[in-house]
């Protein structure tokens, strides 16, 4: 059945509802401004200075600074997705969101749009800071840069969706995932080192994560050979696989939450 334009508009508004809410909360909350600006810049400066102290060659300095920049934008953009449930849980208003005709996709996608915007702002600030402080040009050719950034934002959606699933399954205890999962992913995917350094077994896990391939893709513009011939394509393929799997888990977790009474518990 084809969707009428009114229906399509209504679906878009549902998505934009979450974008709107995250925008207002960010605008009003000093802490979220800190997340977007303060920590990313601190990360860039500290890693850059360490590289300078160790007298790293320009390409190696680029290697580790790309890790620092990616960590920051991934964290900033995934937080918006993870917070889509956490905002409701913290304010005990989850029942009011779950009683509306929105699906889990509206929630994730709406929050992700704003997270990607925040991630983009963080990236541009870091790119300017990197150029000014360490003479590092992070702005590769626009299509490739776009491909890399979109890949990172998809990884942010993966991590945020995983956090939301964990919250619905394990309750409050899982909120720590919002701040720790990114670090674990980055550790596995070669934040400041190539994944070939990782022990066997863990290395294979790293290759199964799309983020690894997006990092290799970006670093390939700075003279580092990727482990596969087309890391961006592999990264995207894996991302879509992960997202399909995670959405299925999230749908199951939402139904489980209805059976177990988690939604009403979170609202008391």
């Amino acid at each position: 059945m084809r969707m009428s334009s009114t229906n399509l508009r209504s679906e878009v508004y549902k998505i934009l509802g979450f974008t709107y809410r995250n925008y207002i909360i960010t605008k009003r909350n000093f802490f979220t401004l800190f997340e977007t600006l303060f920590w990313p810049i601190i990360g860039l400066i500290s890693v850059g200075l360490m590289g300078a102290y160790l007298s790293l060659e320009e390409r190696y300095l680029a290697f580790i600074l790309i890790g620092a920049v990616t960590l920051s934008i991934l964290q900033v953009s995934q937080l918006d997705v993870a917070y889509v449930l956490l905002f409701d849980i913290w304010s005990k208003s989850l029942r009011y969101t779950f009683v509306t005709p929105v699906s889990i996709f509206h929630m994730i996608f709406g929050a992700w749009l704003f997270g990607s915007f925040r991630g983009l702002v963080a990236f541009l600030i870091l790119a300017l800071s990197g150029k000014y402080l360490f003479d590092l040009n992070l702005l590769i050719d626009p299509p490739s840069l776009l491909l890399f950034l979109l890949g990172i934002f998809l990884s942010a959606m993966i991590i945020g969706t995983l956090t939301c699933s964990l919250l619905l399954i394990f309750g409050y205890r899982a909120e720590v995932a919002a701040w720790t999962l990114t670090a674990i992913f980055m550790l596995l995917c070669g934040i400041y080192y190539p994944v070939t350094l990782l022990p066997a077994g863990i290395r294979e896990i790293a290759y199964a994560i799309p983020l690894t391939h997006f990092l290799e893709f970006y670093r390939s513009f700075y003279g580092f050979s990727p482990s596969t011939s087309n890391p961006a394509l592999l990264g995207y393929s894996l991302s879509f696989l992960f997202l399909i799997l995670l959405f299925l888990i999230l749908i199951w977790a939402s139904e489980r939450a209805r059976k177990k009474g988690t939604v009403t518990q979170f609202s008391e």
């Binding site: 508009r9 209504s10 679906e11 508004y13 549902k14 934009l16 509802g17 979450f18 709107y20 809410r21 207002i24 909360i25 009003r28 909350n29 905002f87 409701d88 304010s91 005990k92 208003s93 029942r95 009011y96 969101t97 779950f98 009683v99 509306t100 005709p101 929105v102 699906s103 509206h106 139904e255 209805r258 059976k259 177990k260 009474g261 939604v263 009403t264 609202s267 008391e268």
Partner: protein, 302 residues
Amino acid sequence: MHSIVCEDVWMVYRSLFSEKVALSGIYLKIPSNRIYGILGPNGAGKTTLISLMATLLRQTKGRIEVLGYDTLRELKEIRKRINIASGNPNLIWSLTVYENLRYYSLLYGINDKKAVEELIREFELEEFRDVEFNRLSTGNKQKLILARAFVNDPELVFLDEPTKGLDPPVARRLREKIRSLQKELGITVVLTTHYMSEAEMLCDRIAFINRGKIVAEGTKEELKRMLKMRDKITIEIDANIPNLSIEGVFAVERDGNQLSFYVDSAEARIWDIAKEVARFGRIKNISVKEVDLEDVFNELAK
């Protein structure tokens, strides 16, 4: 015409090591365009029942039909047409009155700023339009929660203890608002409450729930008739009285030297009761009143 039909509804909360039956074998038909009350003591299952009907929970067994749609298979159709307001006034803290209403109307796929402004006016929140939720008084928070329940022009609204913790004048105004909105819009309201006066004032029909079961259902008058309790005779005496068994008395409540007798007809029973009580001491005071919902509730909650 019924807005909600429940057939053999069970809700069992299961964890690894325990199982708690919250509702067992609920049969209920809630008529359309009325205010329907669900009453019961704490932990009786009122909120669980309302949450099941509002699709926030999924029943373990049985069938619930809301506005003709099945709660297991047609969630989206139901959610478009219903809304809920709870007595725990919780919304996103840092959003203002306007932003909260706008946000929730977007979640219903509605992008109508004018309608949001009208809702603010309707609930007399103009003065607080740009005040963040956490800075509102409890009364205004509750007004906003109630206003939020009307962002989608619902056909059915669930109100879970909507006046809990409010000052009596604020609670009274909110009750009047609920009554007038229900009449004006012709919607169905399902209400849970602890306040018998609220149920007495608002509800056209009532279901009493206790220990997860419906123990009585009907209009206020039907419920009183069902328990054969029409009048309450209260006698104060200057001595201790042993337990009495008097014909025509359905229940006796004791509060110190004051005894309340629930009877079918005060006219027919008052002299027999007074004579029997007078055998034990001097009667200081006698009063007669019609049984109210609170008396019915106390009897059913036993």
